[in-house]
């Protein structure tokens, strides 16, 4: 079955087509552009492009997989609304995967791993994976120092992801070079069981982790002296 994968939780705006078969998940087409400020412009043309690359039409799709974040809100929503609206039109199921899993799962090869992406405001979105790639803590948002302390407690010996590169000094862990951003094939792999079982469609609710900045209007100041 042909499956569309989208992720816009990091500066890497990603669209991919994968073929999910009974025993395999194979990448058919892939577009990724790293630009933190243009998710809204980039994603739809990339979806269009991967369809063209695979010589497919939208109606050939059987499911959509979307990275649920965590990630900076504005960009994150682009991927989720794209996935949800396409799923609605095509009447195909949509499945969500934690975007950090697309970094942490492939990086775990025996020892626990800290996967981290940039949360801006000098913080990280992060999660810790066991040696088999199962997420054991997270996703959470905190300062790099707090993430580092928790990761060490959990026995992480290596860090991975764009956030880990950025705060390598504070984290004090060796940083794996790849994957730097959520891997589209891995996201599909992590949803493959649901895809094969034709599990019910899921509402794509973003992993915001932070409340909206909403400052209550202050009491009106008198105009007269």
């Amino acid at each position: 079955m042909l499956v569309l994968v989208v992720d816009s939780s990091t500066p890497a705006v990603t669209a991919a087509l994968v073929e999910v078969s009974a025993d395999d998940v194979a990448l058919r087409a892939h577009r990724c552009t790293v630009d933190a400020r243009a998710h809204g412009e980039l994603l739809a043309p990339q979806v269009d492009a991967v369809l063209a690359d695979a010589d497919a039409r939208p109606r050939d799709l059987g499911a959509v997989v979307a990275g649920l974040g965590p990630g900076p809100f504005t960009g994150l929503r682009v991927g989720l609304v794209t996935a949800a609206t396409m799923g609605q039109v095509l009447d195909i199921p949509t499945y969500g995967v934690c975007s950090l899993d697309g970094i942490g799962y492939p990086a775990a090869t025996g020892d626990p791993v800290l996967a981290a992406s940039d949360a801006r405001r000098k913080e990280l979105y992060w999660a810790v994976y066991d040696g088999a790639g199962q997420r054991i803590v997270g996703p959470e948002v905190s300062t790099p120092a707090v993430a580092a302390a928790r990761a060490r407690e959990l026995g992480a010996t290596v860090a991975v992801g764009d956030g880990a590169h950025r705060y390598a000094d504070t984290l004090g862990l060796p940083v794996r070079v790849e994957p730097r951003y959520p891997d589209a094939t891995v996201l599909a792999l992590l949803a493959a069981e649901r895809i094969r079982a034709a599990a019910p469609t899921e509402r794509l609710t973003p992993l915001y982790l932070r409340r909206p900045d909403a400052v209550a209007a202050t009491a009106r100041k008198p105009v007269l002296p």
Binding site: A44, T74, T82, Q88, V89, V215, P222, L224
Partner: protein, 348 residues
Amino acid sequence: MADEPLILGIETSCDETGVGIVRGHTLLADALASSVEEHARFGGVVPEVASRAHLEAIVPTMDRALREAGVTLADIDAIAVTSGPGLAGALLVGVAAAKGYALAAEKPVYGVNHLAAHVAVDTLEHGPLPEPAIALLVSGGHSSLLLVDDLARGVTPLGATIDDAAGEAFDKVARLLGLPFPGGPPIDREARAGDAASIAFPRGLTAAKDLAAHRYDFSFSGLKTAVARWVEARQRAGEPVPVADVAASFQEAVCDVLTTKALAACRANGIETLVIGGGVAANSRLRAMAEQRAEKYGIQVRVPRPKLCTDNGAMVAALGSHLVAAGVAPSRLDLPADSALPLTTVSV
């Protein structure tokens, strides 16, 4: 009629998620979800709260619109979406949604100007807009006078507010009178029981010396301050505030300036049609005053029904329909959301 194009419109520039469907000038569906109650306690729209609400509301609102119109996305000829101006994060949800729908259904998408849509919506009520026309656009974020030569290709701004928008003035005055947000509807309601001549509030930029440089501009900040001073003086003196009279006198001042300048623009340009759009066009006094004053000059006033004046998806569909009929080319899939889209750009 059945062969006129079927156009879908998506609106998410502020706190309303709207999906409208029109065929030609005929309104088939106008589905709306609002996050206004989530913002009320903050006394204004909180952008991130609005954006989150749009993401949750877009799919169900689309479902409702399609059901209401009895069509599917496959039947739609084109999708129009507000690409600006408005709140950046909120706009982006609608633009991304429109692209998702357009991609999946293999339909063209038009990114359109929200303010031009506030003008175009009148065609759903009163049919094609005679051009040239003067448009008075009065909403929560804008107050402008426009010369509309060709709504499909561009409008010429004649003037605009130099400080607060008219709707903003309603919202601020409502707050100081202890009325809920948004302030337009409760002031409109209170004013009905008040005496509009009881307090002489200032009419901004109407003095001869201001008219030279600001003939078609507006200013509502001085009015708002005058109301605040008046109310506070009462409170300090320990006297009750006559809310209905203040509301009526304030509303009268706003409507007086808006209609005077709009009709002056019509007469100066020899134009016989005045169309009023935007949330403040829902104001009952503005509608009545404009009609009454226009009559003696033989000017026809067109104001859509109140529900079409505030933000909605039908207005975006109406503009999309106008663009398609005029043969305007669709937007590209990389069309951006532009929070500061200028009034002169009708579609991107």
